[in-house]
């Protein structure tokens, strides 16, 4: 399905995972991913929505190079570094906020960091240790860290999960601002269709395990989307596809008009 794109496009992320399975205690193997194939052009944002536990995180780990035991190929034509936001902040508790960011991005200039901390409202917390931060703040530090490396590929695994709606919405806005300020190929896993629509150029719908891509929806430029009618249309389409493909609808996509 992702072959619809014109051939010869340069600088894209090309993911082909034929099969990924884990050994089960009983001896046979549990298949988690099957025939995942998609391409993300340089600088575009792809969102992945699917039932929880369907293997989205496994897919991201393979793309990030953390799991090499799979059948398939991952081609990142533009090479370079990866910035990642895990489901948990994964900060070093014994280093300050600023040290946590600087350690992975030693080349980042003071001006870049200052701007990043400013955007994410972390400026007053630079010298704090992660143990002194709320979860919301810690997630922002994780975002700052991922952006500070000026990566060619940004991987976001449910970056706002378990935050309250208001804070998640604010952070989503900040994330959109960051992506807008410096276009970077981004993969976003989320269970929130609205979040996907707000941030992504393209939405991939995954089935329950073993995960396959059951639909690929283009999303108009983010600026037009805020109109609302388009959001509703996409949501309806997602709802239709999830029921058609036998995917249990996630809580949020089922909630319909929630904003």
């Amino acid at each position: 399905m992702s072959d619809a794109r014109p051939a010869g496009e340069t600088g894209r992320l090309d993911v082909r995972i034929a099969r990924k399975s884990f050994p089960k205690p009983s001896g046979d193997r549990l298949e988690v991913l099957r025939d995942i194939a998609f391409t993300v052009p340089r600088g575009r944002v792809a969102a992945f929505v699917g039932p929880s536990g369907c293997g989205k995180t496994t897919m991201l780990r393979i793309i990030a190079g953390l799991d090499r035991a799979y059948e398939g190929t991952i081609v990142q034509e533009f090479g370079g570094r990866i910035g990642m936001v895990f489901q948990e902040p994964r900060l070093l508790p014994w280093r300050t906020v600023e040290e946590n960011v600087r350690l992975v991005a030693p080349d980042a200039s003071e001006a870049t960091l200052a701007r990043l901390f400013e955007t994410l409202e972390l400026a007053p917390h630079r010298a704090h240790y992660p143990g002194q931060l709320s979860l919301g703040l810690a997630r922002r530090v994780a975002l700052a860290r991922a952006f500070a490396v000026e990566a060619s590929l940004l991987i976001l695994d449910e970056p706002f999960v378990s935050l309250d709606d208001a804070l998640a919405a604010r952070l989503r806005g900040e994330l959109a601002k960051l992506i807008g300020s410096r276009p970077v190929t981004t993969l976003l896993v989320t269970h929130d269709v609205e979040e996907a629509i707000g941030l992504a150029d393209r939405l991939f719908l995954l089935s329950a395990g073993p995960a396959r891509i059951v639909a690929e929806l283009p999303i108009e430029r983010r600026d037009d989307v805020s109109a609302g009618s388009r959001v509703a249309a996409i949501k309806a389409e997602v709802a239709r596809l999830t029921s058609a493909a036998g995917v249990p609808a996630t809580e949020r996509s089922a909630a319909g008009g929630r904003s």
């Binding site: 990642m84 508790p93 280093r95 143990g131 860290r145």
Partner: protein
Amino acid sequence: MLRLLSIAILLGAWYAGSLMAGERMLPGPAAVLAAIVEEARSGALALHLSATLARVALAFSLAMALGTALGLLMGRVKIADKLGDPWLVVLLNLPALVIIILAYVWGGLTEAAAIAAVAVNKLPNTIVTVREGARALDPALDEMARVFAMPAGKAIRHVVMPQIAPYFAAAARSGLSLVWKIVLVVELLGRPNGVGFEMGVAFQLFDVTRIIAYALVFVVVMLTIETVLVQPLERRASRWRNRTA
């Protein structure tokens, strides 16, 4: 305040005990202090104390360095753990005295044999403690370092070592007191100087005053090392832990 009171009670009990047992069996604080001053004046105290301290420092560093390396290896690499574990069990259960005597028999009554014997006595304890730490390393942080392509040196310094630090500190603490006790035995058995050697001489002369004098001075020295060196280092290493908002 309570600490001072406790020390005062200890001194009082010591004094009372010496009155009851007699100066020969248990000399009082004044006699011991006089002996310390006498030994210090003759230069014997400094000589023996420095000899013992040098051995403690050498054996301790050797055991900690080697033990940390082996502990990390065994905690991270399964094959190393499987191969090393039986050796570890043997070492852990070998009495200190056996190791010391064998070291002297095989290596002669030399300084190298003495220090090696002490280090080998402390080694398994360090390995076991650091191995626990290596096993408890957080895979989530390890993955973070890998995704962000942290160079190995940096990852060890900023990701691995801070996680090992509490285990290392625990090994160092118990190590320091263990090492100096074993050093005394090593000196008693086969060295011509050091606090342990002096203890041996004093024992043969039934000079209880000198035994207590040397023991007391050494305890004070070790306590000082603990307060001015070990504790500040520990505080520094764990300062991120205490300051919660």
